[in-house]
Amino acid sequence: MTYKLEFSALLPYWEDLAAGLWFTIVLTVLSTVVGIAVGTLGASARTFGPKWLAGLVRVYVELIRNTPFIVQLFFIFFGLPALGLKLSETTAAFLAMVINLGAYSTEIIRAGIEAVPKGHIEAGVSLAMSRLEVLRHIVLRQAFAKIYPALSSQIIIVMLGSAVVSQISAPDLTYAANFIQSRNFRAFEVYLVVALIYLVLAIVLRYVLRVIGDRFVKVG
């Protein structure tokens, strides 16, 4: 073992790391918010929507859940231009993550919706509430409380999975790592540091999600 650790070799690149980290955080937050909105609509359509729409959502969910994320990403970034739809790296990365989380969260939220007792829906309907009002005020509120832990885990998975977007040159944390080690040839140090940053990011995200959960997603 003659390899000498040289972490100082990273110092000149700290701005690249910071920029990559910031990109990963923003990408994760935005795609989480939009992805869960997609999942909520998808789950609502699957359980309360017309048959054709429920079927359509089902196809979407199965398609995404049974193909690799990187292939979905490549399809959007390299495939769609063939149809005349050319997206920037950042837009393609965002879109791929939204579509991916949308599918997984559709399934998670659907499980929560189906766990709400039918009687609660009947009670809401009997109080002259419309189906949409029942869904919003009674069903989804309870569904989210039930599936919040599962959804939190999925969000962490999506954050970690976002490293893949470096493959289409979206300037995230992993992209920065690849760039730095190609300059200073310090692959061990660079990936060790970046792995630690992801670890801290995951722990912080988990904590933030728990605080949000305690504050907003509760059942008496």
Binding site: P117, A123, S126, L127, A128
Partner: protein, 242 residues
Amino acid sequence: MSLVSIRDVRKSYGTVEVLKGVSLEVAKGDVVAIIGRSGSGKSTLLRCINGLETYQFGAILADGIEVGGIHANMRELRRHVGMVFQQFNLFPHLTAAENVMLAPTVVNKTPKKEARAIAAEVLAKVGLSEKMDAYPSQLSGGQQQRVAIARSLAMRPKVLLCDEITSALDPELVNEVLRVVEQLAKEGMTLILVTHEMRFARDVGTNLVFMHHGKVHETGKPKDVFAAPQTPELQQFVGGNG
């Protein structure tokens, strides 16, 4: 004129006919107790009145609106026809007061402050002023059912449907719920109750309906019907229930 008018209603689940031509008139202020064996169609009939179940033949008019009619405004109908369930069905993520306030604020667009005043009033009526901010999980079964009654009352219904509302309660909690219903009856609320509480049906009811095999088998003033049941089926049913 009847507040609720049920005319020759028939309903089938697949090939099984559960309502075989039921007719019933309910006037304002009536307290109608529907009794009968399980499977006789009494709960189904009740659920048809506010459109939770559909029926295939006949007609039900509630407050002048034909239930399930093509042009029926079911939302408008349900504002006037309240329902209380066997399983309470309180919303667990909301406090007692919030359970009561939900429909007034969402459906009637009542301002929050006013809705809270309504909640305070109806919860006092069912004797639960102290429990405004308690969650359902912190309440006993009897208290939960009383909140459910208050929740219906907050919409100021013209008729209240009660579907075996004491059947899921421990015996010692039944009376606190029945007392509330009795008080409502005294105040002139129109009530249609599916019940197994024979004594309550006799003492509080103004009309008794005995259902058997999907039909109204016998009907009349509760005291008369209980004193001298005409059909052998009711004789057996009343005898069996002591």
